[in-house]
Symmetry: C2
Subunit: 337 residues, 2 copies
C-alpha cells in the first residue's frame, strides 16, 4: 500500500510501505477515506523534533476492513472516526474521563496512507450512524483531532453561556476553539488574529470581536472590551511562552485558561496564577469523550468544521501539502488516498 513517510526534516515522500494488518486482538484495520496534515506534523518537518523514516498521520476517517478477535464495537463495513489518542476505554484513567492519558494508550500513527492499523479499536473508534455523504467527510475528519482539540480547549477554558471567551492562536485549532465556544453558548468570542483571511474564517465560525494586538497589548485590548476585567475563558492554542502569558494576562481574576498548544519550553510563574486565581487545564485532548457528540452535530449539519481545510490534495502529493502548511499558505490540508 502507499503511505506518507517523513525521511528526515523537510523530506516527505509517498512510498510503498508494509500493508496495515492486525497485530493484536484489539486492533482494527481501516481503509482511509480521508486523512490530513496536522500542525504538530510541522515540528519534525521543521527539524524541531527528531524524525527518521517515520510513517505520518494521526487524524483519520474510513471504513473498517478487518477487526481482531476481541473487538466488539465495530465491524467490517462500518464507517468510523477515531481519536488521535489511542485508549482502551477501561483503565482507571479512561473511566475517570481522561482517555488521552490511558495507561495502555498511545498516539495513532501511519494514518496518511491507504490503510491504517488502529490499536485499541473499541476504546478509540466511534462509528457513524451510517455511511456518510461525501460532503460530510471533511467535517468528520476534523473531529478526529483538530475539532476535538479546539473543543477541548473551549471546555477546559470553561466556555459557556454568559462567558466572554478569548482565543490565542488563529491556526486550525484556534479556529475550531471559536466554533466550539459558539456551540457551547459563549456570549462573546474574541479571536486574536492579525491575518485577514483567518479573521474572516474566525467570524464565520462565531467570533464576535477581533483583537490584532499581541502579548500584553493584546491582553490590554481584551480588558478594554470587558469592562477592565479580562475574559472569563481563554483558549491557548499555540504552545509558546509568549502565547501562554498572553492567555494568562487576557484572563480575568477567577478566569480559566484552557491550553491545547503543545507546550514548548513554557514556564508559568506560580505567583501570576496565584495572584489572579486562574484555573489552568490542558493537554492532549480527550477527543474520544467528545466524538459521539461531535459526530452527532456534524451528522445533523449543526456545524461545518470541515471548512477549516483550505487545500485538498491526493495522497500522492502529500509533500506539497506539508510545504503549503509550513509556508502558512494553507491552514490545513486534506489528503485523499
Amino acid at each position: 500500500m502507499r503511505g506518507v513517510v517523513m525521511e528526515s526534516a523537510g523530506d516527505v515522500r509517498v512510498e510503498d510501505v508494509a500493508d496495515a494488518r492486525i497485530h493484536k486482538p484489539t486492533d482494527a484495520v481501516i481503509k482511509l477515506t480521508a486523512a490530513c496534515i496536522c500542525g504538530s506534523d510541522l515540528w519534525p518537518y521543521r527539524g524541531a523534533q527528531p524524525v527518521d523514516h517515520q510513517m505520518m498521520g494521526h487524524e483519520y476517517v474510513g471504513v473498517v476492513t478487518e477487526v481482531g478477535s476481541d473487538v466488539k464495537s465495530v465491524e467490517p463495513g462500518d464507517f468510523v472516526v477515531g481519536s488521535f489518542c489511542l485508549s482502551d476505554g477501561t483503565c482507571e484513567i479512561c473511566t475517570d474521563g481522561y482517555p488521552s492519558r490511558c495507561v495502555n494508550g498511545g498516539f495513532m500513527s501511519g494514518a496518511q496512507a491507504e490503510y491504517a492499523r488502529v490499536p485499541l479499536a473499541d476504546g478509540t473508534l466511534v462509528k457513524t450512524p451510517g455511511q456518510p455523504d461525501a460532503s460530510l467527510i471533511p467535517s468528520l475528519l476534523a473531529a478526529s483531532d483538530v475539532l476535538g482539540t479546539g473543543w477541548f480547549g473551549a471546555v477546559a477554558a470553561q466556555a459557556g453561556p454568559g462567558k466572554t471567551v478569548a482565543v490565542v492562536g488563529d491556526g486550525a485549532v484556534g479556529l475550531m476553539a471559536i466554533l466550539a465556544a459558539r456551540q457551547l453558548g459563549a456570549s462573546r468570542i474574541i479571536a486574536m488574529s492579525r491575518h485577514a483571511s483567518r479573521q474572516r474564517l474566525a467570524r464565520e465560525f462565531g467570533a464576535t470581536d477581533i483583537v490584532e494586538e499581541r502579548g500584553d497589548a493584546g491582553a490590554e485590548a481584551i480588558r478594554k472590551l470587558t469592562n477592565g476585567l479580562g475574559a472569563h475563558s481563554v483558549v491557548e492554542a499555540v504552545g509558546t511562552q509568549e502565547s501562554m502569558m498572553q492567555a494568562i494576562h487576557a484572563a480575568r481574576s477567577g478566569g480559566s485558561v484552557g491550553f491545547v498548544g503543545v507546550s514548548h519550553g513554557v514556564e508559568i510563574p506560580g505567583s501570576e496564577l496565584f495572584g489572579k486565581e486562574i484555573h489552568l487545564f490542558g493537554g492532549p485532548a480527550p477527543v474520544r469523550l467528545f466524538l459521539p457528540d461531535l459526530i452527532d452535530r456534524i451528522w445533523n449539519h449543526q456545524i461545518d468544521p470541515g471548512k477549516v481545510f483550505d487545500l485538498t490534495l491526493p495522497l500522492e502529493r502529500a509533500a506539497e501539502g506539508y510545504k503549503a502548511m509550513d509556508e502558512r499558505r494553507a491552514i490545513k490540508v486534506l489528503l485523499q488516498p
Copy 2:
C-alpha cells in the same frame, strides 16, 4: 487601644496605637474576642518581605461595636467571623464567586489588637447564629483564614467521595486541608509529613496514610499507595518550587492540584501540566464563600478546627508567639486581647 506592631524584621511589639474607628460608611468596628498569628506573618518576621512599623493581624472574630451608615448585614452586638480578604460582595468578580479577588477589595490588617476596623463589612463579615460558647472561639477564629484556606485547597483540588487526596505541607493550613478533605468525603487522605506531632494531628483530622518522603521520593511513595497512578487530588500548602513540583508529581493523570501556599519564585513547567493533564487552581482563598457553611459545621460540633492552635497567649505576649512559630515550636498561636 493596644495592638501588635512589627517594627522591623523580627521585632514585634505590643503598643498603644490609634483607636479603630469608622472611616467609611461601609466600615464596621469590632472588639476582638480572639486573634492569631498566621504563617504568612513569618515572611516579614524573617526579613523575606519588607516591613516598617506595620500593624499586624488578619484573622479575627469578635463583637461588632459600631457600623457605618451603609452597613446592613451586621449591627452592634453581633458576634462575627470575617474573611482575611476584604470584599464588597457585589462586583462582577465577587458575584462570579471570587470574593478574594474583589475589584474593590484588599487584605484585612490590624486584627492583632483590642479593636479592629473592618472595611467592606457587608461583603466580608458573617454573623454567627448567636453568641458562641467560649469553647467554639478557637474554631470560629480558624474559619477566618487557616481553615478557610485549607478548605479552599481541598475544594480547588476537587477532593470528594471516591477520591484519594494527598496534602503537601504539614503546617496549619495543610492540617486544615486534611480536615476539609475528610468533610468533603474523600476516601483516602495522605498526609506528607515527617514530624511525629503533626502526623498525630493529621490523623486526628482525618488522614488515613502518612508519607514521610519528600520530593520525587514522596511522589513515588504516593504512586505505590495508588495502584501506580498517583492521587486524584493534591493540596499544595507550602509555596515553594520543591513543594509545587512534589504536588504535581504526586497527582495522577487528569488529577487536580489545589495550591494555597503563597507562591515564592515558583515556575511551573507547562510541559508537565500538559503531559499529565493536571488541573491547576489556587490563590488567596475565597473564605467569605465558605464561611456560612464552616460556621454551621463548627456551631453543630461537626468539626473542631480549633485544635490547630497549640499555644494560647495574652495579646501582650504576642512577641513570644511569633518566636514560637518561627522556631516551629508552635503550629499556630492564638492571642487573647
